[in-house]
């Protein structure tokens, strides 16, 4: 009942802000003879963002709940891990204790840890048994991609579930993922719904929880409507083993601009699979993950993500037009908008202020309003008391993260992971 009242209030506020944003945009469109390139950029961005609200309405967690127990495919968890002695045990526990009708196994890969990770893995093996927990150990660190690949090769299940070593899987989440494969034979991969484990630690984690929520339940849901999800995050997603095997070598030895592609392994694999298969999102398949609690770690992570995003953007850009046209246009818009972002921000906050003395106030209000709309839309789907932090994310994005984009473009060949 309380949730319903909440939802009504949020919905009313949503429509009021939407109305104000639209009427302001229309007024400005009709009445300003300013720089037309910026105008076009703003129109495209607004249309892209507003279209997310419409498309996300059509998202459905498309899987029939009831299948006969025997039908469920066998599942192999692939968990690669480097120096996560504190969480690996719990991660394995959460995987094994999934309520799943058929066989589960867990492949744990120790990627050259220098702490007690291997010991923890062995403990888990003891706890369950070595038929269920298999360990692969690298003396020296070889990178996530290698670890994942080795894990897949050793796995015996029909479905591979990738889980990060600091993620915790919900009891029925694996069942939900598997049901997608059963419902639609064209689905090659399913993204889980990553939520933030350490949500209440500080403003940074609260902000990330709001950001993840919008990113998954609005943006990814839109991609899923067309079966064109471009990133199944490594922290929790499922693939048909057969789909991976088709592309495993190309993925494993992927090169970009002459250097080995080490990060963005999840996005990359998704794109390889997406060429031939549908990739969807499963809202119900929840897993929680630990997010950076310190700003410098957060920014390093974001920079890493941007590099892989740039690389994968160009790769996927090559074939995405073959998929649904709306998905393709959305993809290209989603690629160009952040890349041109820094130029727009420079113009509005520096050039306009200095040359024409124009206050960036309206731009800031516009950006904050849009972020409020997204926050509200998300919280209508899923309650989250920190939804308002989405505006904090937008501020950090506009002033800091957006500048990582040109930096990432310059440094895209640098494969160093930074602080993990």
């Amino acid at each position: 009942m309380k949730r319903n009242i909440e939802k009504t209030v949020y919905a009313i506020v949503f429509f009021i802000i939407l109305y104000l944003v639209l009427i302001y945009r229309i007024y400005y469109l009709l009445n300003t003879h300013s720089n037309s390139q910026i105008e076009i950029y703003t129109i495209v961005t607004s249309l892209f963002l507003l279209s997310r609200f419409v498309i996300a309405v059509f998202y459905d967690d498309l899987h029939k709940k009831r299948f006969k127990k025997e039908k469920y495919p066998t599942v192999s968890f692939v968990i690669s891990c480097k120096n996560e002695e504190d969480s690996i045990g719990k991660t394995i526990d959460s995987c094994i204790s999934s309520r799943y009708p058929t066989l589960i196994e867990c492949i744990a890969i120790n990627d050259g840890s220098t702490d007690n990770t291997l010991a923890e893995m062995k403990k888990a093996q003891q706890k369950y048994n070595d038929k269920i927990i298999k360990i692969i150990s690298f003396q020296k660190n070889r990178g996530k991609r290698e670890a994942m690949a080795e894990g897949v090769l050793k796995a015996s299940g029909e479905v591979i579930i990738f889980v990060d070593s600091d993620s915790f899987v919900g009891k029925y989440s694996v069942k939900h993922l598997a049901e997608h494969f059963l419902s639609d034979e064209y689905v090659g991969a399913v993204s889980g719904n990553s939520m933030v484990e350490n949500i209440s630690t500080n403003a940074l984690t609260k902000m990330q929880s709001a950001r993840y929520g919008v990113s998954f339940d609005v943006f990814k849901a839109c991609e899923s409507v067309f079966g064109a999800v471009t990133c199944c995050p490594g922290c929790f997603s499922g693939y048909r083993k057969s789909a991976i095997m088709q592309v495993i070598d190309r993925w494993r030895y992927q090169k970009f601009l002459g250097t080995q592609s080490t990060f963005g392994d999840d996005r990359s694999l998704t794109n390889f699979v997406l060429r031939k298969w549908k990739v969807v999102y499963c809202r119900k398949a929840v897993a929680t993950t630990i997010v950076p609690e310190k700003y410098y770690k957060f920014f390093k992570q974001q920079l890493r993500w941007k590099k892989s995003w740039i690389r994968e953007g160009t790769n996927a850009g090559a074939f995405i037009w073959k998929k649904h046209p709306v998905a393709a246009i959305s993809f290209y818009a989603n690629l160009l908008i952040p890349i041109l972002g820094p130029l727009v921000v420079l113009k509005i906050f520096v050039y306009d202020v200095l040359i024409s003395g124009r206050s960036p106030f309206t731009f800031v209000i516009g950006v904050v309003s849009m972020s409020l709309l997204f926050g509200l839309y998300y919280v209508l789907i899923h309650p989250n008391k920190y939804w308002l932090y989405v505006t904090y994310f937008t501020v950090i994005y506009t002033f800091i993260l957006i500048w990582q984009m040109p930096y990432a473009l310059l440094k895209v060949r640098d494969t160093h992971w930074g602080t993990r």
């Binding site: 009427i23 007024y27 009445n31 309405v57 998202y59």
Partner: protein, 511 residues
């Protein structure tokens, strides 16, 4: 959105879109008007204690015979060279209120010119040029609370183009129905710069031949284009405000005398159009320059009398002039009726009324000390009204130093005046016409007094003059070229040491 199928969801999306779309469509005009005014906020004015409690008593005053017109551009919170700072503007308006000035409309002014309207004792017209947002939003409440009316001359092209800096038709409509504002014409694209040659040089829209299609436009093309601007201007008003403007503020003050243009006849042609389409046209006759309290930049009158050229009605642009100085400017140029006296008994009136043309002036207890400035040979002070005629002027003074001391009568400007004076050589009577000085009678030689208290008197009877020193007639029956003009007092010394003290000056009607 769990249980609904695709069609149902589509229905929801479409109906939401429809409802939002409809709401936007219905409420857009109201939103537009809110947003149009958001760029500049409406200034709320609180009258000062002084303006609420002080007011000059004009109950016995006679109706005025001429009108001064003020002109402003923007009234802003900043300080710049073209606009008026709001605090200064409030000082101007409060000064006008305290001094008993009443605003009249241009309609009433037009009627006055036709002798169909009686002016209040201290009339004033307040105008704004160009139609900027900051001419209205910052000033309206001031006019409301002081019960003043104003006129704004609108460049209609700016409203058509929805230029954010200028008032839109919606604002203008609100203003014209408020009862405080009269909207009149200032051209359509009159302020635009146009190319006048192939090198990128520019001139103004109404007063230059345009360089277009790789050639200079012909005169007929120019005339068509310019006339279209006038016609369009009037049409815009008719369409949006429901009336045709009768009054025109000449854009950029370009009305023929010194226009820099590639077409010398531009001023003449524009004046023809003004006469065709409007009843009155306004120029800028005086622009305040900082540090320059009294000089008339364009040599045009401060006050407009009934015989003013209706297409050259003069206005004053005070900009950021001190309110006290504006007050003096208006008072000292106000038409004075006879009899008129200036004396050391009323130092304040001496200070207010004296118009120092050049030199130094020091008003002390015994009168007005007029002193030449080193480097300049003469000093001149004027009093009264250019429209005075048939008067007797008597000046009591002390000649302190210098080679001559002069009483001026029928003085119109620096090049046209009548002079009667004493020099170290004798007494002279002469007039300067168009800058050429000429003795009207041979000078009396040998009559020298230094220093001495003397009275000089001139009796003007139409264009005939009698001149007296200490009531002794020196010249009689002199014919002068002038019939009207102010009175004045002047000293001269070729070494710049001239000084005279004017104790009193009286002007009466010649019987």
């Amino acid at each position: 959105m769990k249980m609904l199928n695709t069609t149902q969801r589509l229905a929801i999306v479409l109906s939401c879109t429809f409802v939002i779309g409809l709401t936007i469509f219905v409420t857009y005009p109201h939103a537009e008007e809110l947003l149009e005014s958001y760029t500049i906020s409406y200034y709320r004015y609180t009258p000062s204690q002084k303006v609420l409690s002080t007011k000059v008593d004009l109950s016995n005053a006679e109706p005025a015979i001429a009108v001064p017109i003020l002109m402003y551009h923007g009234v802003t919170h900043e300080q710049d060279n073209d606009n008026t700072n709001i605090n200064r503007f409030i000082e101007h308006m409060e000064m006008l209120k305290i001094e008993g000035y009443e605003t009249i409309t241009l309609q009433q002014f037009e009627e006055f010119l036709k002798d169909k309207y009686t002016l209040p004792p201290r009339p004033i017209i307040i105008t704004f040029d160009d139609g900027r947002k900051d001419s209205y939003f910052t000033t309206d409440d001031i006019f409301r609370k002081l019960e003043f009316k104003a006129t704004i001359f609108m460049v209609s092209g700016k409203a058509n183009d929805r230029d954010k800096f200028y008032l839109g038709w919606h604002d203008l409509k609100t203003m014209s129905t408020s009862g405080r504002w009269d909207i009149q014409a200032h051209g359509t694209y009159s302020h635009d710069k146009i190319l006048i040659d192939e090198f990128g040089n520019t001139g103004r829209f109404l007063t230059s031949l345009q360089y277009i299609d790789q050639r200079l436009e012909t005169v007929p093309e120019y005339e068509t284009r310019v006339e279209k601007d006038y016609i369009q201007n009037i049409e815009d008003f008719d369409t949006h405000l429901g009336y045709k403007p009768k009054y025109y503020a000449i854009p950029i003050n370009e009305y023929g005398e010194n226009i820099v243009s590639n077409y010398p006849q531009a001023g003449v042609f524009n004046t023809q159009l003004m006469k065709k389409y409007f009843s009155l046209a306004f120029i800028e006759g005086y622009v305040y320059q900082p540090g320059d309290e009294y000089s008339r930049v364009y040599n045009k009158p401060i006050y407009n009398f009934q015989d003013v050229n209706p297409y050259r009605v003069s206005r004053i642009e005070p900009k950021n002039m001190d309110a006290e100085n504006l007050k003096k400017l208006l008072e000292s140029n106000a038409p004075h009726t006879l009899p008129y006296t200036i004396s050391f008994n009323d130092i304040d009136k001496m200070k207010t009324d004296a118009i120092l043309a050049y030199g130094n002036m020091d008003i002390q207890e015994n009168g007005l000390h007029l002193i030449s400035v080193p480097g300049e040979e003469s000093a001149k002070v004027l009093f009264g009204d250019e429209n005075w005629s048939n008067y007797t002027v008597t000046a009591e003074f002390t000649w302190v130093s210098g080679r001559s001391i002069v009483l001026l009568g029928y003085a119109n400007d620096d090049k046209n005046y009548f002079a009667f004076g004493i020099t170290d050589g004798g007494v002279f009577i002469r007039e300067t016409v168009h800058g050429i000085e000429q003795d009207l009678r041979p000078p009396f030689l040998g009559y020298v007094s230094l220093p001495k208290d003397t009275t000089l008197k001139l009796v003007f009877d139409n264009n005939k003059v009698n001149a007296y020193i200490d009531d002794r007639a020196m010249y009689t029956g002199i014919t002068t070229s002038f019939t009207t003009g102010e009175v004045g007092f002047k000293t001269w010394d070729d070494k710049g040491n001239g000084e005279g003290i004017l104790h009193s000056l009286t002007v009466t009607e010649t019987k």
